[in-house]
Structures are given as structure tokens and as C-alpha cells.
């Protein structure tokens, strides 16, 4: 993996987290495992924790404690209206970005 693709993964990770949370609330371990298993996005599982902290600070996610069937209570993350807007903007941007990169990679620049 090159430094460039590492940066790319890190860059899109927060939007992948938001996209997961847009469907349902999840707890940290769940988010980390789920995204850690998606190839080739897979980043180190721990990477999501600093990210979740920042997303909460930015108001893109909220947290709440919920009882767990097994073990201690879990901190659940949910997406906020701010987070949904950030995600929508990125989804839009990403499609155009991806198309533009494809054009350049395929050498189709006029």
C-alpha cells in the first residue's frame, strides 16, 4: 500500500462511518469491525476511534449509552442532521470526483 492510497482511505473513512450510521445506530466495536472488513477500504480498526471523537466534536454524530446483553454498557453513535448534510455533500462530490479521476486515468482528456 502506498502512502497515497493510505491517505485516500483515511480521507474517505469518515464518510463511510457516516454512511453506516445513516442506516442505523452502532457502537464503536461494531463500526470498527464492519469497516475493517470492507476490502479495499479496510483500515486498522483503531483508526475509527479518533475519527468518531472528531465527528462528535463537529456535531456530525451523537452518542448515547445503551445496555448490552453481554458485558458492560455500550456507547452507541447516531448520525445528526449536520452529519447527514456532510454525507450528502460528500456523496455528491465523490461521484463527480470519481468520474473525473476515471477520465484522467483512462487518458480520455481531450
Amino acid at each position: 500500500m502506498t502512502a497515497g492510497t493510505t491517505q485516500l482511505r483515511r480521507g474517505v473513512l469518515e464518510f463511510c462511518v457516516l454512511a453506516l450510521l445513516a442506516k442505523e445506530d452502532r457502537y464503536g466495536f461494531d463500526i470498527a469491525r464492519t469497516l475493517g472488513a470492507v476490502q479495499p477500504i479496510a483500515v486498522s480498526e483503531g483508526t475509527v476511534y479518533p475519527l468518531l471523537s472528531r465527528l462528535r466534536k463537529d456535531g456530525a454524530v451523537n452518542t448515547s449509552w445503551q445496555e448490552s446483553d453481554a458485558g458492560p454498557p455500550r456507547k452507541y453513535y447516531s448520525i445528526t442532521p449536520v452529519g447527514r448534510r456532510v454525507l450528502a455533500d460528500f456523496t455528491d462530490e465523490w461521484a463527480r470526483f470519481r468520474d473525473a479521476v476515471d477520465v484522467v486515468l483512462q487518458g480520455d482528456i481531450p
Binding site: Q7, R10, G11, V12, L13, E14, Y27, G28, F29, A32, G36, V43, S44, E45, G46, T47, V48, Y49, P50, L51, L52, S53, R54, L55, R56, K57, D58, G59, A60, A70, G71, P72, R74, K75, V82, V86, D89, F90
Partner: protein
């Protein structure tokens, strides 16, 4: 119950490294990350049944330094930016502010409003801004001096460059002799250039300023 927990030596060593790796972060963020990782470890170690599993759990988490390392660029996290964005000479500038817009307006139209002086004000504003590079400032200064005021100036010069014809009448034969003047297409090209070039430069400068870093958004 699980035989593995946070007091496993390898896990303890990991948590200590995490603590060191987050030392530069604000206290609340640091606590939140540690809390997330601890809780992650409790869940993950619950599924571990061997020493190898413990190592696998830690490997999957990633090196503490790598986890904390460079935060990903996020649109909604401007306050965190100074920590990791490499400082550039333009970082503290204002992008397309009032100064930049005024500079372009004076360059383009200043000389029409106040002959000579108006354009000169534009040049001063242009060179006062920190948004543009030296090359862009030279472009703004040289293309074209006077801005659009060059058009009326050109109209006044027209008689000098226009074709002059003299008609002589001798022995019933009319002779027409023309001298000077430029081919029509040259005149048109020059006119288009004089109008188009300053406008193009203005658009370019405004766009360049718009792309330059803006002041902190919050």
C-alpha cells in the same frame, strides 16, 4: 468468562503506547479515544481464546502511532486543521476578500472613472494583496495597463493608423491612391485583444484569489 482482559501484558503495553501517542491531543479527545479502544478491546478479547488471538486483536487495531497519526481531512473540522495542515505562505491570507475584488475592479475600470489614477490605485491594491503570486501580480499589471480605458484611447488613435486615400483627377482619369492603414482583420484582432485581455486577466485573478486559502471558517 474470558481468560483474557485488559490486564494482559501485551494489552497493557499497547494501552501505554496509545497513551503516549495521544499526548499531544486535547484531554477530552484523548480520554474519548482511550475509552473507545478499551471498550473495543474488552469486546474483542471476549472472543479471543489463545495468545495468538490476543495478538491478532491488537494487530487489527493497528499501531497506536498509526491510529492517532494524521487525521483525515474533514470538511467539518476546521479547528483541528492547524495541527496537521502543513503551513504554507498563503495560509494566513484572506483569499478573495474586499481588497482583491477592489483591486480587480480598479484595474479593469479605474482608468475610465478617473483617468490614469484609477488604474494606478488598482495596481497598488494588487501589489498590497498577499493572495496572488508575484507572477500573477505582474500579469495584472501588464495585461493591460489602463484596463478597459485602453478602448477609448484606441478610438482616439484610430485616425493615425487608418488608411488614407487621395483621389486625383487628371485628363479624365480618376486615380485613387491609398497609403498606410492596417488590414481590416488586424484592426479587429487588436480591438478584440484590447477588450478581451483585461477582462480575461480580471477573471483569472478573481478565480486565483477564490482558490487561495480563506481565513479560518469558524
Amino acid at each position: 468468562m474470558t481468560p483474557f482482559a485488559l490486564d494482559h501484558p501485551a494489552v497493557q503495553a499497547y494501552l501505554q503506547r496509545l497513551d503516549a501517542a495521544t499526548a499531544h491531543l486535547p484531554a477530552d479527545e484523548r480520554i474519548e479515544i482511550a475509552e473507545g479502544i478499551r471498550s473495543h478491546l474488552i469486546t474483542a478479547l471476549g472472543e479471543a481464546s489463545s495468545e495468538a488471538d490476543v495478538r491478532t486483536v491488537l494487530d487489527a487495531l493497528g499501531e497506536p502511532e498509526e491510529i492517532v497519526g494524521t487525521p483525515p481531512p474533514a470538511p467539518a473540522q476546521a479547528p483541528a486543521a492547524p495541527v496537521w495542515v502543513p503551513p504554507t505562505p498563503r495560509a494566513a491570507t484572506s483569499g478573495r476578500g474586499a481588497l482583491e475584488i477592489a483591486a480587480v475592479i480598479f484595474l479593469l475600470l479605474g482608468a475610465i472613472i478617473v483617468p490614469f489614477v484609477g488604474w494606478f490605485i488598482g495596481v497598488v491594491l494588487l501589489w498590497c494583496s498577499k493572495t496572488w503570486t508575484t507572477g500573477q501580480k505582474w500579469l495584472g499589471t501588464l495585461v493591460l495597463p489602463g484596463g478597459l480605458a485602453i478602448v477609448p484611447a484606441l478610438v482616439m488613435l484610430t485616425p493615425l493608423i487608418a488608411e488614407t486615400c487621395t483621389t486625383t483627377d487628371s485628363n479624365g482619369v480618376t486615380l485613387t491612391q491609398c497609403s498606410g492603414g492596417l488590414p481590416t482583420w488586424v484592426t479587429i484582432a487588436v480591438a478584440l485583444l484590447c477588450v478581451g485581455a483585461p477582462i480575461a486577466t480580471s477573471i483569472y485573478l478573481l478565480r486565483a484569489a477564490g482558490r487561495a486559502p480563506a481565513p479560518a471558517r469558524r
